[in-house]
């Protein structure tokens, strides 16, 4: 299926000559100066009376110079941000197969419920006795997370995935120290998310890498050999970042426990197994859940994230405050450690308030609207879609490890060998085809990685179009059309950006022309 002749290459034979416009706009792709360059002093979106003369009470600490905000009308501001939003590729706009990030649809029902005034208007400082409904909702979500993971307890307050990792490792540290057995090393596999070693380092541990075996999974023999009384924990993602299920996970858990260490599971990829596998049955001691991945709450700028952490019985007593405690009158928030309610051993507080309430509402809405069977089907469809991509592309692209895969499929750049096209070039060309590129160059265990996660949100028709585009690009690359790739994307608003210069000499803020001239 091909609709375009050669749109991606202005000026090429058969295509129209490049069109220049008087305005600089390219059709509906509108050009505009930076918002600071549109500044016209005195323009303002609101009409306020002149303030009366007041005696300053800041003791001479008042701002001396103008704040430097541009003068703009309301329509200018609205157009500016609408233009920016149109340039922003989002899951609401098209297929966004960013591996390990799980860019899936955020059901609008979640949004509707999160906007109910009783949830949307909560204030974190209002007395807890005025919000029993909110506490009940957190408790209900907590019970679902406990049931879905088969773990006895959950800490709801962590703000996002990496914060959840920190929470988990702090529980592990607290448990080890309580047993008088402080340890110094955390093991992470080569293919780990970068946040894993970062978390362990922040927590004061030394990081050691465990190699992968030829199947893209943790080398059990190497792990077993490394385990000794210096090891505090292993941090392992399952399914891992190669999109593979760690088939030795039960043996890994046994070996880790035998060495007196704890097993932290990075739950970033729980969306592939929810409803099918309970981490509690695998011997995991703690795992964070990215509500914005598995449970469809908004991702990135639409966030915030939310990263509840499920805990084994051994770690549960060390969970952070505030903690939801179940009592005869329903759930209540324990803000301080007391002997009576089982919070005495808590490692303390890691967040000012009680968790990301808006995300809790959305996640519970997602869970209740799907039900257990629906969650399971979402996981199965995510895995099915990734395997469909695998099956349709494996003859053309180089699959890093034999399938089947889980929710994401990993290719390397072997198929581009001797074409002069790199993974980066290939990804840029996908932008012209109207797709957000897949994750590139991660995981690091394969060369020129391309990690594709279609998610369960995509229809077969949409995935077929994606596959057809990729096959088309592979053919162009293999046909020796490296020049096409070197210049891609041709159809993006700013075409090819110089990523090297952007990293080496970043321009971090706009400088007024006068200041710039003075600096030179």
């Amino acid at each position: 299926m091909s609709h375009a002749s050669d749109l991606s290459r202005p000026g090429a034979a058969g295509a129209a000559a490049p069109i220049t416009t008087n305005s600089g706009h390219r059709g509906l792709d509108l050009e505009e100066p930076l918002i600071f360059e549109q500044d016209a002093p005195g323009r303002c979106g609101v009409d306020l009376p002149e303030p009366p003369e007041l005696a300053g009470r800041l003791g001479g600490l008042e701002r001396q110079a103008p704040i430097g905000l541009p003068g703009l009308t309301e329509p200018q501001v609205v157009r500016h941000f609408v233009r920016l939003s149109r340039n922003n590729f989002a899951i609401d706009a098209g297929l966004y197969p960013l591996g390990s990030c799980t860019m899936k649809h955020n059901p609008r029902l979640n949004e509707k419920l999160a906007r109910l005034p009783g949830f949307a208007d909560l204030h974190p400082l209002q007395p807890a006795e005025t919000v029993p409904g909110a506490l009940q909702l957190i408790d209900e979500l907590a019970q679902w997370l406990i049931a879905l993971t088969g773990m006895p307890a959950v800490a709801m307050s962590p703000a996002a995935g990496a914060h959840g990792e920190l929470c988990g490792l702090m529980c592990i540290r607290a448990a080890l120290e309580a047993a008088g057995d402080a340890r110094e090393v955390v093991l992470v596999p080569e293919s780990a998310h970068g946040t894993n070693p970062a978390t362990a380092a922040v927590c004061g541990y030394r990081i050691e890498e465990i190699p992968a075996d030829g199947r893209g999974r943790v080398d059990l023999a190497a792990l077993t050999e490394r385990l000794d009384p210096t090891v505090a924990a292993i941090m392992l993602t399952n399914p891992n970042t190669c999109g593979l299920f760690e088939t030795d996970i039960v043996e890994i858990a046994e070996a880790v426990h035998q060495a007196g260490a704890y097993f932290y599971c990075d739950g970033a990829n729980f969306n592939a197994i929810v409803g099918r596998v309970r981490p509690g049955d695998l011997g995991i001691d703690c795992m964070h859940l990215n509500l914005h991945k598995t449970f469809s709450t908004p991702h990135g700028g639409g966030g915030p994230g939310s990263g509840p952490v499920v805990l084994s019985a051994a770690l549960a007593p060390f969970a952070p405050l505030p903690m939801l405690v179940r009592g005869p009158d329903g759930p209540r928030l324990a803000e301080h450690a007391t002997e009576a309610d089982g919070t005495a051993a808590s490692f303390g507080r890691m967040k000012a308030f009680h968790g990301q309430m808006g995300m809790f509402v959305r996640a519970l809405a997602y869970i209740l609207s799907h039900g257990g069977d629906g969650l399971r089907q979402a996981a199965e469809d995510a895995v099915l879609n990734a395997n469909y991509v695998l099956a349709e592309l494996q003859d053309q692209m180089s699959l890093s490890f034999p399938g089947p895969c889980m929710h994401e499929v990993l290719f390397d750049d072997g198929f581009l060998k001797d074409t002069g096209v790199s993974t980066l070039d290939f990804a840029k060309a996908m932008i012209d085809e109207g797709f957000h590129p897949m994750t590139m160059y991660f995981p690091l265990v394969v060369h020129g990685a391309m990690l594709i996660e279609p998610t369960e949100s995509e229809s077969k028709a949409s995935i077929d179009q994606f596959i057809a585009s990729l096959r088309h690009l592979v053919e162009r690359a293999k046909a020796g059309d490296a020049a096409l790739f070197a210049g891609a994307p041709y159809l993006a608003p700013r075409r090819r950006l110089d990523e090297t210069q952007a990293a080496r000499k970043p321009v971090l803020r706009w400088t007024p022309p006068a200041e710039e001239a003075a600096a030179e």
Partner: protein, 125 residues
Amino acid sequence: MSDIRFSEEHEWIRVDGDVGTCGITEFAQEQLGDIVYVELPEAGRQVAQNEEIAVVESVKAASELYAPVAGEVVDSNQALVDDPAKVNADAMGEGWFFKIRLSDPGQLDALMDEAAYLALVAEQA
């Protein structure tokens, strides 16, 4: 015998007296692509062999350098901080990272000579 030795981590060390100058190999810089950032060790730091000692970041990935031998860091190449592109331009020369005073010159024997390293690269390419 050449005075330059190579590690499996694609680093080189060129020894002059009891001080070795270290960096990443031509192959390593090619694999990394455009280098945009380096983090260098402080002079005076004692390092064990294979301890993480520096960081190199390219547009593609960040990775660590490991001390090819144990010893004391005596210098690092501050010119790379302002111009990390030197690593791409001249990995084995001006793109050096740090100098180490070797505490155990015997450790050099376990590193590869140029022929052995080139064979390793041929295998990995």
